[in-house]
Amino acid sequence: MAREQHDYDDIPGTFVFDAERSRQGYGINMFCMSLMKDGNRKAFKANEAEYLKKFNLTPEQTDAVLKRDYNRMLELGGNIYFTAKLGATDGHSFQHLAAVMTGNTQDGYAKMMLGGGRGIEGNRSRSGKNTPSKFLSAAAAKKPAGAKPKAKSKSKSKSKTAKRKTAKRK
């Protein structure tokens, strides 16, 4: 059955771990959970394909795990907090995984984070919904008013701040 469509499918580069993926990816995530124990980590590393048989993965899921295709694991129901345990089992830092998922080098990814991270502009929507959230834009409009709060609040037909001020004086 095709995946149900959701508003958040419009967010680029993102696989939201929803109830459907949680069900679909149960095996991947339980496999990753098993890697919290040292004995299991060793058994997995000794024979990966054999170890995975215990978790009833689909052929696509098995393939994604064996290939360490982290984005595909997420798409097929893996959750990042779980798949990170697989990365740790391989001896990788989280930034290594982030670099793999973003198609960057680890160094390049680390530099991007130090420079303030990936910017939001152009990264909101696949379908061009690039206007900032109204919860953000309202504050952005309010912000410059900080310099001259009185003048602005009068022009805005008694804003909340103006009302509050009057209330305080009483």
Binding site: I80, M101, S133
Partner: protein
């Protein structure tokens, strides 16, 4: 009567815990993060709460995908640190406060918030990192300065509870605390966030403008924050940034009017924007106090903001 006196918001980045555990706090990268919490630790030492309620989320430690409770309240006498794959963090076992916890459970369930009760639970970095940031480093064989009631919120599987639901649960917790007969001063923590995405090709997303707006409105207009739909959190603050809803439980548990006494924000810690805020309920009587007294309160706020 017990009462909530203040709220603390804090990120819980696991790498902060690792930096602390591995003695990296003096490295310039980490010093930038830890120095932002020095004043907070001073505040915490002065405030000396009797109990802390810590709203946090578990990261595939105590809850895997076998059970995913939306709200789970820790009513146990103690909560050992979880083994997250590298051995448990070298921090003391967290002592609970079962009497108040079960009182809160009973009160909020009758107020129609259907909590899961946990009488046995391990806690991961989601809780112990904010505790370290506010209480400082505590030796494994020593004790945390106060008992803690953990409230675990599902923010791993979509959908987490809505921001509005979180805010209203906070209010129910406030009412529950106020109806507890023992004279206790309680601080409530909201943890997680701020903007970050750690999964998929968009990983590394940070939105400082969003974060600042969120911090501003915690004191100014929390009702507005409570209306933010999930899609906006995920689009603007990252797929994992949605955990910011946990801060709204903390905010809902405070009075309508609060004083912001401290704030800290820095980018990045690992993959995340670190945000931190301390909000105090106004002391009783300040409302009718003289101008002189109000000025004294403001002076105290300025001093701690320093």
């Amino acid at each position: 009567m017990a009462r909530i006196i203040a709220g603390v918001g804090s990120s819980h980045v696991p790498a902060i815990g690792a930096a602390l555990d591995n003695g990296k706090t003096e490295e310039p990268y980490w010093k930038r993060v830890f120095s932002g919490f020095e004043k907070s630790q001073e505040w915490m030492r002065e405030t000396r709460p009797d109990v802390a309620i810590i709203v946090y989320n578990d990261h595939a430690s105590a809850f895997s995908v076998e059970m995913i409770p939306t709200f789970a309240l820790g009513c146990a006498a103690e909560f050992p640190p979880a083994d997250e794959g590298w051995g448990p963090r070298p921090v003391p076992v967290v002592q609970g406060y079962p009497a108040l916890a079960s009182h809160i459970a009973q009160s909020v369930i009758l107020d129609e918030f259907d909590l899961t009760i946990c009488n046995k639970m391990e806690v991961d970095h989601g809780m112990t990192v904010p505790m370290n940031l506010l209480f400082g480093k505590v030796d494994k064989n020593s004790h945390w300065p106060c008992p803690v009631i953990p409230l675990a919120v599902n923010v791993v599987m979509y959908p987490p509870p809505t921001g509005h639901r979180c805010y209203m649960l906070g209010r129910a917790i406030r009412k529950a605390v106020q109806s507890y007969p023992e004279d206790l001063r309680v601080v409530i923590f909201g943890t997680g966030g701020l903007s970050h995405q750690i999964s998929g090709p968009r990983a590394g997303l940070i939105n400082s403008k969003w974060d600042k707006n969120f911090l501003d409105n915690l004191s100014k207009d929390p009702q507005k924050l409570a209306k933010i739909p999930h899609i906006d959190y995920m689009r603007e603050a990252g797929a994992e940034g949605i955990e910011m809803v946990m801060w709204l439980i903390m905010r809902g548990a405070l009075d309508d009017k609060v004083d912001e006494v401290y704030r800290f924000y820095t980018v990045p810690a690992s993959n995340t924007a670190v945000g931190h805020i301390i909000l105090e309920n106004r002391k009783r009587g300040v409302k009718t106090a003289t101008k002189h007294k109000r000025a004294a309160v403001r002076a105290k706020v300025d001093r701690i903001r320093g």
